[in-house]
Symmetry: C2
Subunit: 237 residues, 2 copies
Amino acid sequence: MELTRRDRQRAATVAEIKAAARKLLVEGGASSVGLRAVARELGLSAPALYRYFGSHEDLISALIADLYDELTDALVALRDGDPEADLGDKLFLIAGGLRDWALAHPAEFGLLFGAPVPNPDADDHELTPGHLAAMRFAAVFKELVAQIYQQQPFPHPAEDELGPELLAQLRRKSEFFDGMPAGAVYLSLTYWTRLYGLICMEVFGQLHWAFEDAGAYFQAQLFEIGEALGLDCPVPD
Amino acid sequence: MELTRRDRQRAATVAEIKAAARKLLVEGGASSVGLRAVARELGLSAPALYRYFGSHEDLISALIADLYDELTDALVALRDGDPEADLGDKLFLIAGGLRDWALAHPAEFGLLFGAPVPNPDADDHELTPGHLAAMRFAAVFKELVAQIYQQQPFPHPAEDELGPELLAQLRRKSEFFDGMPAGAVYLSLTYWTRLYGLICMEVFGQLHWAFEDAGAYFQAQLFEIGEALGLDCPVPD
DNA sequence: TCGCCAGAGTGAACACCGTTAACAGTTAAC
DNA sequence: GTTAACTGTTAACGGTGTTCACTCTGGCGA
């Protein structure tokens, strides 16, 4: 018990600030969540927020981390919700869940996945909480794909089909994918790449010149990339 | 000859302004290209720019249109550069060219493709010059795919494999694709979706946790999606 | 219980931003 | 040659993130 009364008050205020920031984000997009606007939202002066966050960017980073955690929790709940579902069903579930969350929270999704990610391998790398939360999020998909492969290895390209340079980079990621062979890692990354690209395009409006409702297209694509992982069609509604 | 001296001066100034805006864009990202900063760049006061652009947003829109045109010109030059190349080669050429341009001009690419596109079907639709330039850009890919199909129709999903809702939306886009059948339209959109998503992910850094150099992965994916259009592997270097 | 100090909050100020208004000089047109 | 349009200016308004100096108060150790 090291939580003094003031610590609890402080934590509550931090939560209030992030809640206000999110409200502004939802209502007016990323550009609307300003330091002064947040302060105004809870009847404080702008400099007061500097007691809780070092800068405006820090506030946004904390909000991003929170949103990643919320999204991750939602997907985990979806994954563990139906005990009847097999691993393939679970993958379809969370893929659709990711799309649903993105469409239901476009502003939040834009904040998480729309902004360019600074290269952490560069010399100025500092692992923000947002990076860590993003890794927890990505791990949900990674673990599921790895489990699927472990349970029923899907056919994958042979190593000599991949080309030496690609092969070397895939091998380096093999242990991250629980020791899957390079060809299987390639298919896993293809799955993620296509799913991510598809959802980003839909949410960011890059698809509504072609589809007024991209849901059917999404399902078809999901089935396509699921097939590559040896999964059956889920529910062709 | 209705170009008075002042008209030419004015056009030159407009070009200067956009050049300065682009310089700032390249040097410091989208957030660095401000009205005052642009004015400072060419020794003007900020309100002077309002003689040439109605607002800051108008300036950005004009810059976007210019960049689309530049990109389109580059791809067209690539397409028409090698008279020996067949249509398939040309498609690989401009796909790689798009990636190269994106990697060489990440800030410009982010401005063109990173920002959410407002739905033009909504009631507040106003066709900006940027929209028109984007359509000219997209037409380069569309025409090439349509020509490829016309020359050598690639195998495509039958209509009953697509599902009724997806089929209806694809049919509506058939005439835009020079009367291609729905299944072929589906494959064309898949091509574009995957290419676009892939490049966005690489440029926006969403891929460098997996690949330090995504070039080999890009080539492999490009071959994959080219195969679906009945094309041979270009140059497996 | 007293004293003290860290924590929380304030208003003023700085430098920037997009934008508007009122004004002056130049240039083209009638 | 007069006039009107065009191009530019400075001043100002309201907005932003941020820092500084200041006050007040709650919780801790002596």
